[in-house]
Amino acid sequence: MKYTRLVSLGIFLIILGIWEAACRSFEVPDFILPVPSEIVMITITKWSVLLPHAGITALEILLGIGISLLISVPLATIMFARPSVEQALSPFLVASQAVPVFALAPLLVVWLGYGIASKVLMAAIIIFFPITVSLLEGYKNCEYEYAMFFRLMGAGFWKTLRLLYWPWALPYFFAGLKVGVSVATIGAVIGEWVGAQKGLGYLMIQSNARLRVDMVFAAILWLSAMGLCMWAFVGFMERRVIRWK
């Protein structure tokens, strides 16, 4: 494990080295492609510029996750409890993912304004699908013998849900949540690109217009770090909650 991580780090450093060397040898202008060392410097030294924007984007993502959880968990549960509801809603669920988020972003900005509401909703739309589908799959994956045993013990649906289906589906739920938080940044940033007054997406658009490509890269690095932190936090929670795995 340690060895493979070292290999990954080694490959990453080699790519950065080639990038640095190529930019310096061919004298590539900063406004086209800045050198990695300069991007790292900007990422650290300009923290006071990046932090407020990152805070807004993080807030949008976290609210998006919260809203999608509020929708996904009951929705997956109802779909599991009532297969007819699943049959009725499945086409809409799939359609919601078939429509590109880029297509929805302008509409949401028009309807909800330039504030964080439209970005929160964008993030929620992206996150809710993997969580809903994973949780539903987890419920369905419960072994028939266990479900039948609960039935024979006289357990009703809600008691079976609490004692059997929900714990059974938790690994699936966390898998969906991991995917959700990984892609949540996409929704928030797209929303900020279309129309915003703050956020890392907004900072990227502004910096790009001023040919500050180094700042665009710095924002991307901050976004990646945010995504990684959220992914790691979900992983930590998963290990805390699912102790039996």
């Binding site: 013990m153 102790r243 039996w244």
Partner: protein, 248 residues
């Protein structure tokens, strides 16, 4: 007593049970042995209501019931312990589900843990203990049901021979000490002869009783008893002929 009369069940034209009859006296121990696929498990599914019967009646203690679903405790080959619960919480599941968990039920479970050699393992999870201990915990859970009737579906078949023997003595306790009425399915003819008061040999579908053996003596019976060995060989011959009938 448990009185099953004229039970019929068909699946897509295949008659698995055709007017099948069976009686188990109160506090009796009846074992069903039969060739694979003869319909034993379907019979249990019909009894528990997992699959509906086409016709027939099920009487338990004089009451006509559509199924024994909530009147019987059920234990099967798979222990069905929940990995997210401790052994104690697994054992308490029936009382948790019926909202009857209290100090008395905890004390009862604790006492059963002691009786079945699980003392000190209450807070262990199922994946931390051996297969035999898991099955003993499943047995405690079965006893926590407080149902007089117990249906055992090959409860020990997943265990190794030594563990199985030690648990067979515990199954005897179900009847002798806890006064349960037991109906057991098993593939192990010797197990049936060692534990049951009556052993019924079943035929291929449509399942019927080919032969019945009433047994006496203290249980678990001695495996080396010549009479037991004779009956075992006879039953195995019969089951083998059932298989031959199926092949030809």
């Amino acid at each position: 007593m448990l009185d099953i009369s004229e039970i019929t069940k068909k699946f897509d034209g295949l008659t698995v049970l055709n007017r099948f009859n069976l009686s188990v006296p109160r506090n009796g121990f009846t074992a069903l042995v039969g060739p694979s696929g003869c319909g034993k498990s379907t019979f249990f599914d019909v009894l528990t209501g997992v699959v509906p019967k086409d016709s027939g009646t099920i009487y338990w203690l004089g009451k006509n019931l559509p199924s024994l679903g909530r009147k019987a405790a059920y234990m099967q080959q798979k222990d069905l312990l929940l990995p997210w619960f401790s052994l104690m919480n697994n054992a308490l599941l029936p009382v948790k589900i019926s909202n009857q968990i209290n100090k008395a039920s905890r004390e009862k479970a604790q006492e059963l843990f002691g009786r079945l050699g699980l003392d000190g393992f209450e807070n262990y999870t199922p994946q931390q203990v051996s297969g035999g201990m898991r099955q003993r915990c499943a047995l405690v859970r079965t006893l926590m049901f407080e149902h007089e009737l117990v249906l055992l579906d090959e409860p020990l078949s997943a265990l190794d021979a030594i563990t199985r023997r030690s648990l067979q003595s515990l199954l005897v306790l179900l009847q002798s000490e806890f006064k349960k009425t037991i109906l057991m399915i098993t593939h192990d003819v010797e197990e049936a002869l060692v534990l049951a008061d009556e052993v019924l040999v079943l035929t291929n579908p449509p399942m019927r009783i080919r032969e019945r053996f009433s047994l006496r003596g203290n249980k678990p019976r001695q495996r080396s008893d010549p009479e037991l060995i004779r009956i075992r060989e006879h039953i195995l011959d019969e089951l083998q002929s059932e298989l031959t009938d199926e092949v030809y």
